[in-house]
Amino acid sequence: MDSEDDMHDAHDGDSLEDFYSGDTANESDDGAGDYDFMDNDSDDPDHVTSHRQQFVASFCRYDERLEDGVEERSMFPEQNYTVLSEEDIRRHQDEDIARVSNVLSISKGSSSILLRHYNWSVSKVHDAWFADEENVRKAVGLLVKPVRIPNVRVLTCGICFESHSRDKMDAAGCGHVFCSSCWTGYISTSINDGPGCLMLRCPEPSCIAAIGQDMINKFAYHEDKEKYAHYLLRSYVEDNRKSWHKTVEDGWSCLTVDVACPCAVTHPSEVIKGRADIITSEFGTFGCDYAVDFVFGSGSYDVSCNCSHNFCWNCTEEVHRPVDCITVEKWILKNTAESENMNCQETSLYGVPATNNRLDELQMQEKDAEETPHPQTVSSLILANSKPCPKCKRPIEKNQGCMHITCTPPCKFEFCWLCLGSWAEHGERTGGFYACNRYETAKQEGVYDEAERRREMAKNSLERYTHYYERWATNQSSRQKAIADLQHMQSVQLEKLSDKQQQPESQLKFITEAWLQIVECRRVLKWTYAYGYYIPEQEKAKREFFEYLQGEAESGLERLHQCAEKELQDHLKSESTPTPGFNEFRTKLAGLTRLGLLSLTPIPSLRMTNLIRNQPNPT
């Protein structure tokens, strides 16, 4: 599919396509493929339908929420998502918990534990429960009948070893008694350890009994209770999405999916907290409390959260249309790895280096190695000690010996540090944990160890990368500047100009439009450099053509930017009122705005209908 028009239609069709390119290994040349959508049949019609209606009802609120000039509303003529507030999310969650509680005749606490275990899918809980209640209970730690605490006056706590009277002791229905202060300590430790507390079990190692809301209410400190509630809410948003990832592979699909706004990812100082051997973005550090409800079957992946963060729903990076998610992921990883070489601050936007203590050490090592600069080695040194979890993408730092890495809960993905493959698939069959086939095979095929190629690459790659990175980063900073200018223009200059030119502000709309176009075009142009970097070397003609068009687009944008920046100033500062030539300025600026990045349209993968405003849809 090349145009979005097709995608809109696809909603009504029957085709079921795996559009989530992030999960597929094959790299599509056609970035538009990344925005293909599928038709969805829900296996839980009641549940989803009721949600949908609510979401549709709250649709119209969107426009009222955009406040300042950063708005990009005009860039998104169609909205296929809803931003949910914390209350909205909680309401949905409570409804789901109540539904399961009613149908299965279990407590709300048990219902919540069950739902969390099944990634908050009401239908999956029902299916599993009615298929094999006993096994489900075992898996999640719900006991059928509570074990009674022995009727003696004094009991010994299994944690502090002190003797207490029976009324000071409690158990999670399994008969393993601990004193109330040890319960408090146990629960508090777990909650402060992260969202894994949602899967808390009885302290007795052999016991499966789940520790749920009732025990939290009884024993947790006030602030821990709040944290727990927060984790529970986040889980409802985040794990829901994960379940969707998985179920798409299974051929199951869902119409509505929530995702947490990933805005914290852009605030590195807040994001990552070091923990024993795993770095995780702790729950409380997420930048905002909104979730985005995404409706499949229409429009693009671009989402604008209420917190004014714009991101791609699919990969949760910043909006990167028209470049596909895979290219973006590769590029960001590349930037992270090379940031030390480039000595550039921008890359810390992506979180990994900024707060990683180990990387400081690595920087030191790198300085030692400065005598013999070898970009491949330096970047691999950094890469080797900090990698994103292959499943949840949170950065993980390795500072222990073994290659068996377990991501922090709730992800808990176990993988091999060397090949990033699932640990479950590791072992004899794949030639042992460290001798992963993939690595060995690659080595045998000479991908890794070809001395000739490596020398060549060492010589050229840094230079080549620097070229693309500089342009990517410059467009990024230029875009930031344009956003600031746009805000300044709207808040201050527009009024002045209106006075000066004796025209109502409504007549000056073309200036706002120009700036919005600049902001958007800078973003697109920025990503074309990531795109360009990954055009295969051998595809010379393709690259030359692309670079020609990119050059045209760039010069067009420079003309537009300059006109909006400089010529506008002339009209603002001019002595005469109204200034001569203002109407010519209007014509010129509006013309340049319409042009936008039109020259990029011949490249199918860069051609998106929404990219160029006020242009007929290319078909």
Binding site: I159, F161, H176, G185, E204, P205, Q400, G401, H404, G432
Partner: protein, 139 residues
């Protein structure tokens, strides 16, 4: 001094470790710091480590037993995410002893040793015996 307000649990555990030591395991607290233990584990019989004495240092952090005891770099789940305050020093040391009987080359500290073990177990066992004799036989 830190020892003065030692939790009752640590005192009880220490008493029991000293009065009823687990077979092949000795753990005694340091005199200066009761949270610091000198541990010796005998190589299990019928393992390549038989006849060896393996010394370890174990430290009980302030948060113990809510947090696990600190040992050297040992890949053992109960020292990481599977830790529970209902476990004890004794259970941890028994687990380490069991690890000597049944090494887990899929979760190694040293990649080379694990590689060797998987490629040629008989030869790796010989090396382990040799190293036990060379480095772990004296006290």
């Amino acid at each position: 001094m830190a020892n003065s307000n030692l939790p009752r649990r640590i005192i009880k555990e220490t008493q029991r470790l000293l009065s009823e030591p687990a077979p092949g395991i000795s753990a005694s607290p340091s005199e200066e710091n009761m949270r610091y233990f000198n541990v010796m584990i005998l190589g299990p019989s019928q393992s390549p480590y038989e006849g060896g004495v393996f010394k370890l240092e174990l430290f009980l952090p302030e948060e113990y037993p809510m947090a696990s005891p600190k040992l050297g770099r040992i890949c053992l789940d109960i020292l990481k995410d599977k830790w529970s305050p209902a476990l004890q020093i004794r259970t941890v040391l028994l687990s380490i002893q069991a690890l000597l009987s049944a090494p887990n080359p899929d979760d190694p500290l040293s990649e080379n040793v694990a590689k060797h073990w998987k490629a040629n177990e008989a030869e790796a066992v010989e090396t382990a015996k040799e190293w036990t004799r060379l480095y772990a036989s004296g006290v």
